[in-house]
Amino acid sequence: MRSLRWRLFWVALATVFAVAALVPRNTTQRVLDQKSGRMKDTTVRRVPISLGLDLQGGIHLALEVDQSRGPVPDAAEAIRRAERVVRTRIDQFGTTEPVVQVVGGNRLIVELPGEKDPDRAKRVIQQTAFLEFRITDMQSKFRDAIPAIDRALRAAGVQAPGNAPVSAVSQLFGADTAKQKQPGAKRKQQPDTAGLNAPGPLSSLLYQGALPGEYLVPVEQVPVAESLLARPEVQRLVPRGIELRWGTEDISRGARSFQTLYAVEDRPIITGDELEKATARRDQLTNQSVVDFVLSRRGGRTFERETGRHVNDYMAIILDGRVQRQPPIIKSQIGQRGQIELGAKALQEAQDLALVLRAGALPAPLTIVEERTIGPSLGRDSIADGIRAGIVGVALVVLIMVIYYRLSGALAVAALTFYVLLTLGGLAAFGFTLTLPGLAGLVLSVGIAVDANVLIFERIREELQHGKLIRTAVDEGFKHAMSAIIDSNVSTALTAAILYLVGTGPVQGFAITLIIGIIASMFTAVFLVRTFYMIWLQRRPDMATLSV
């Protein structure tokens, strides 16, 4: 009795786990906003099983460093740089949940679900990275121009979005920045927020950031701000010598998150061409994360001159037109060698910044070694066909089991529904992707999953034939079938594991489905069916014949 309770407990636990893994949940996705044509974060509610490209449609690209025009010294490092660059461009793909990863140390895999135009995707990826250093708008020229821009926008008939809530938030936010001012930091001029957040069309969207030339835009209003800034009347009024560049990072203040927008000088003080080396380290004395960089001789001279003129100014590091991290302050004149201090930040962040610098200094030419494009209609057809085949296949298995083993067969079929639930739950819980071969593996594994039950039932029949009592026959049947079940399942799991290790993409999906299926089938076919039998025999202790 006690053991039955424990069994039911385990069954309930596994069921809860599987159901919890499969319940539709809210996930944040970056999706294309149809109105503005920009990427934005949205929350969607969906079953957390992701579909492979072959089911969803999309583009799969494998890239390597192009060595055809002369060897590239460190290809592994070059591919990491390329990965970093492609990541900064990730929004340009315009697809939800793109995958960018380095495989095997020398190959970059880019997967773009739902993307239809391979040429555009390839252009985005293969574009040469461009790095530049620019001084931010220290005189707040852009801020001074905002009232004029607002007027121009109003004249053009652009209304400010709702006034009251914005001003409330701006007050809250103003207090927030005030608290942030660090006493030790030297600032040429303290930004005051008075001029901003006036209820103009543009000013109501912008909040003064922590340093001159830095502005914050609420993430949900970024598309609006972008479309306003792109208007010709605004472009005309942006002060001469100033350009606007978006930052890469989102900053959260309280419950809201903001994207950074920088007003920077239109002329770079130096570009990636002049950069020779960038490495990250942890300073032993100060325990700070530091990026050391070395410039070319010519670059060093330019940099010395420029930094001499801009001591205590902020220098934006811009890769492919996007400002990376918060611009550091120039503390003193810098020559050929310099360092960027990241304070108490983790070394990993310094390493990332060093990678950004190297990516801009030594662009890695990429060549496409594999390209697959799957149209969305093909993916939809594949899912429909796979599900139809699955339903027919499973129905046949159910029919065979119930006709041949009657009530025991029905128990096995009941266990089979748990099996499918657990397998799908396992796929969801570990974040595996369901591919077309995976779907086939799932269907196939249903046929194989009942094998354990067949073994057990046949054994029980044999024991009954030898004149054993029902209870003994069931016990012996399970006991004797066990070694065969374990041996056969382990050997199948081993081959599946090898397939996973050496396979790629869809085949790995197949192997994973098979492995999870084997584990789930061991649980349902042996443990769960045994539990069913225990309940059954307990309810009917005087049973004369077993329906097997």
């Binding site: 496409i368 594999e370 390209e371 046949l396 298995v397 194989i448 050997s491 197949f510």
Partner: protein, 337 residues
């Protein structure tokens, strides 16, 4: 209650020579076919370009061929794929023609523009393109070979631990037979050997071993139970005892693979066909290959089996007939039946 093959008592082992002759008659011509044509490798392995298109009207492969020829895209293979208005164009690397010059992606574009020219831009739609460089294909070939090799090694080790090396060797040889006959099967039907089909072959390795293990597990048990009988009888007994299970499990698995063959679409069909054949050959080899091989191995290298359960050779110490037991036919004679 339905019972199939209950208390069956067929002399399976008697037919071993016939079975081996039959399987050779299947495998050898399959390999002789290599003199005529090679395996139909997918472009994943060879490198090259694949384009699947659907046309508004069923235009026939001839029309597509002439469209490609007109644009100078030669040596491409054109095939109807599933529905009557779906076609697959393949251009393998190394086949000469256009692929030799440009990259595989350039070929994809050339095919696209050739179709736009020959059929009209609104008359077709591209469903899928694949362009694989030569390096990736070569790597994949190596990986597929490694996968099969390692799966053998690992299962051999596992079986040696769980059973005994004689059993393990017999099981692996039977599985090797399955791979040989599956390749012959693929060759007969000229199925496309893609990575997924290699996956099917590997799954078959697992499945076939599984099947052999079920029978050997029974052999192991019966060797302990019936110390008097010789291996020939015990093998037959074990196969007969597990026969209902074999029939049932193959029935359920076959039901799922046949559903995949007929309903799961063109992309999965080679995989499903190979799996269906694999289930058939896996069962066949467990009975007619693995068991006789175990017998031959035992004859060649007699010794303790299944962790010292008994010894086979009469008079080889440890187990001897109990006094007064009926005399038993010497084993070599029984094997010669």
């Amino acid at each position: 209650m339905i019972r199939l093959f209950a208390n069956a008592n067929y002399d399976f082992i008697k037919w071993r020579r016939w079975a081996i002759g039959l399987t050779l008659a299947f495998i050898v011509p399959g390999y002789a076919l290599f003199f005529v044509r090679g395996l139909n490798y997918s472009i994943e392995f060879t490198g090259g370009t694949l384009i699947q298109v659907t046309t508004v009207q069923p235009v026939g492969t001839g029309k597509i061929r002439s469209a490609l020829d007109a644009a100078g895209v030669r040596d491409a293979e054109i095939q109807q794929f599933g529905a009557s208005n779906e076609y697959v164009v393949r251009a393998r690397l190394g086949a000469g023609g256009v692929t030799a010059q440009g990259s595989t992606q350039a070929t994809a574009q050339a095919v696209d523009s050739a179709l736009a020219h020959g059929l009209g831009a609104d008359q077709y739609r591209i469903l899928r393109t694949e362009a694989v460089g030569p390096k990736v294909g070569r790597e994949l070939q190596g990986k597929a070979f490694l996968a099969i090799f390692f799966s053998f090694i690992v299962t051999l080790i596992y079986l040696a631990i769980r059973f005994e090396w004689r059993f393990g060797l017999a099981a692996v040889l039977a599985t090797f037979h399955d791979i040989l006959s599956t390749i012959a099967f693929i060759h007969y039907l000229n199925l496309e050997v893609s990575l997924v089909v290699v996956g099917a072959v590997l799954t078959m390795v697992g499945y076939s071993l599984n099947d052999t293990i079920i029978i050997f597990d029974r052999v192991r048990e019966n060797l302990r139970k019936f110390r008097r009988q010789n291996l020939y009888e015990i093998l037959n007994l074990s196969i007969n005892e597990t026969l209902p299970r074999s029939v049932l499990t193959h029935g359920t698995t076959m039901a799922t693979t046949l559903a995949l063959v007929f309903l799961a679409g063109e992309v999965l069909r080679p995989f499903a066909l190979v799996m269906t054949f694999a289930i058939f050959t896996g069962t066949f080899s467990s009975v007619y290959i693995a068991a006789p091989i175990l017998m031959y191995i035992e004859k060649r290298w007699p010794g303790q089996d299944a962790r010292g359960a008994r010894q086979f050779r009469p008079g080889a110490a440890s187990v001897s007939p109990a006094p007064g037991a009926p005399p038993r036919a010497p084993q070599p004679q029984a094997m010669r039946q």
